[in-house]
């Protein structure tokens, strides 16, 4: 039975293309699937927007549904003026969604099961929040750490908690996505491995349909988790962006 973590190994397809500082940059299977995800999204959106019909066809309908879905998510969580961030949230949502779903295909590599990828996405969000908040509100941006209506003697504690809470945001954003994808794929692999192990086990072979059925059920669950995690990522991104737009009140 193959190791359940073998699927997360990074493989280098090329030698070092160029050097970034001291570290060589190579084209890996992770990079390949990121390119694939972007390619799928681009192809889909190109197919969806090409007709520009008043009465949408199938692809255009799908594209409009996707757009409306993300737009309403942003409007609900970040408010109407949060729609300036729609391109960012839309890109993040589609990238995470397609990367998650591509990872479910057999022999595929799951980009989002590596914490460095999800952490990079989360840091992008947090630095956008800080950058936009400071640019727009200046020092007033620090108001996000000072909730209104808190008695004075409690304020130092609350501010300390709010600061730690702010730092915990990229952690929770990245760890949640990474842990769900990693755990899901490992569980899937282990249960699929049971089938092979039982079949090879002689007498116990009659038990092998049990883990097989479980693997099928887990696959369905994983599809749900893949979509939900992308959605949660988008919702939380818009919630944090709302703070950049309206720090404290």
């Amino acid at each position: 039975m193959a190791s359940p973590t073998e699927q997360f190994e990074i493989r280098h397809f090329t030698g070092p293309l160029f050097h970034l500082g001291d570290s060589p940059v190579t084209f890996t299977n992770s990079a390949l699937f990121m390119v694939l995800a972007v390619g799928v999204i681009t192809a889909f959106l190109a197919a969806a927007t090409a007709p520009r019909a008043v009465v949408p066809g199938r692809w255009q309908n799908l594209g409009e549904l996707l757009y409306e879905f993300v737009a309403s998510t942003v409007r609900q969580s970040a408010g109407k003026d949060g729609l300036v961030f729609l391109p960012l949230v839309f890109s993040l949502f589609t990238f995470v969604l397609i990367a998650n779903l591509l990872g479910l295909l057999p022999y595929a590599f799951t980009v989002t099961s590596h914490i460095i990828v999800t952490a990079a996405l989360a840091l992008l969000v947090i630095f956008t929040v800080i950058g936009y908040g400071v640019a727009k509100h200046g020092a007033k941006f620090l108001n996000i750490f000072v909730p209104s209506g808190v008695p004075g003697w409690l304020l130092p504690l609350i501010v300390a908690i709010e600061v730690v809470s702010f730092i915990s945001r990229p952690v929770s954003l990245s760890v949640r996505l990474f842990a769900n994808m990693l755990a899901g794929h490992i569980a899937l692999k282990i249960f699929a491995g049971f089938v092979a192990a039982l079949l090879a086990g002689g007498f116990a072979a009659f038990l092998s349909p049990l883990p097989l059925a479980f693997t099928v059920a887990l696959t369905a669950l994983e599809v749900l988790v893949a979509v939900l995690q992308a959605y949660v990522f988008a919702v939380l991104t818009s919630l944090y962006l709302h703070d950049a737009l309206h720090p404290g009140h």
Binding site: Q76, G79, K80, N143, I144, P147, S148, G149, L157, A160, I161, V164, S165, I167, S168, R169, V171, S172, V175, R176, A179, N180, L224, V225, L228, Q229, Y231, V232, V235, L236, L239, H242, D243, H246, P247, G248, H249
Partner: protein, 120 residues
């Protein structure tokens, strides 16, 4: 004559029963309407987010608080040489933050954010 009187009362009874029935039906219809209206107003602040996405979110919030607190404490210990006080204080603070995060994510806290959306 007595038969006549009974005949006179029976339609009255029937009328009363009919009116009672009618009232009962109208009341239950009103009740159903009110119930439906209350249900329609109920949707949680998350909007169309399913319960599962909420559950996935809550579990992460708490862990992230503790991890972030421990990370800050460890960094303070390492770079300011205050060991072990940074870790002790900030791990506890991280625990508080975790609880705070969960309460906020579940919508039990009035935060600046909520004031903001309320004012819109």
């Amino acid at each position: 004559m007595s038969g006549n009187g009974e005949d006179g009362r029976q339609p009255e009874d029937r009328d009363l029963a009919k009116r009672l029935d009618d009232l009962g039906r109208r009341l239950s219809a009103k009740e159903r309407e009110a119930l439906a209206a209350r249900k329609a107003q109920e949707p949680r602040p998350g909007g169309d987010a399913t319960a599962m996405s909420n559950a996935l979110r809550l579990s992460g919030e708490f862990i992230a608080g503790v991890v972030a607190g421990a990370g800050i404490g460890w960094a303070i210990d390492t770079y300011l040489g205050l060991s072990p006080w940074g870790l002790i204080v900030f791990l506890l603070l991280g625990f508080l933050t975790g609880v705070w995060n969960v309460l906020r994510a579940a919508g039990y806290l009035k935060t600046p954010r909520d004031h903001g959306s309320g004012g819109r």
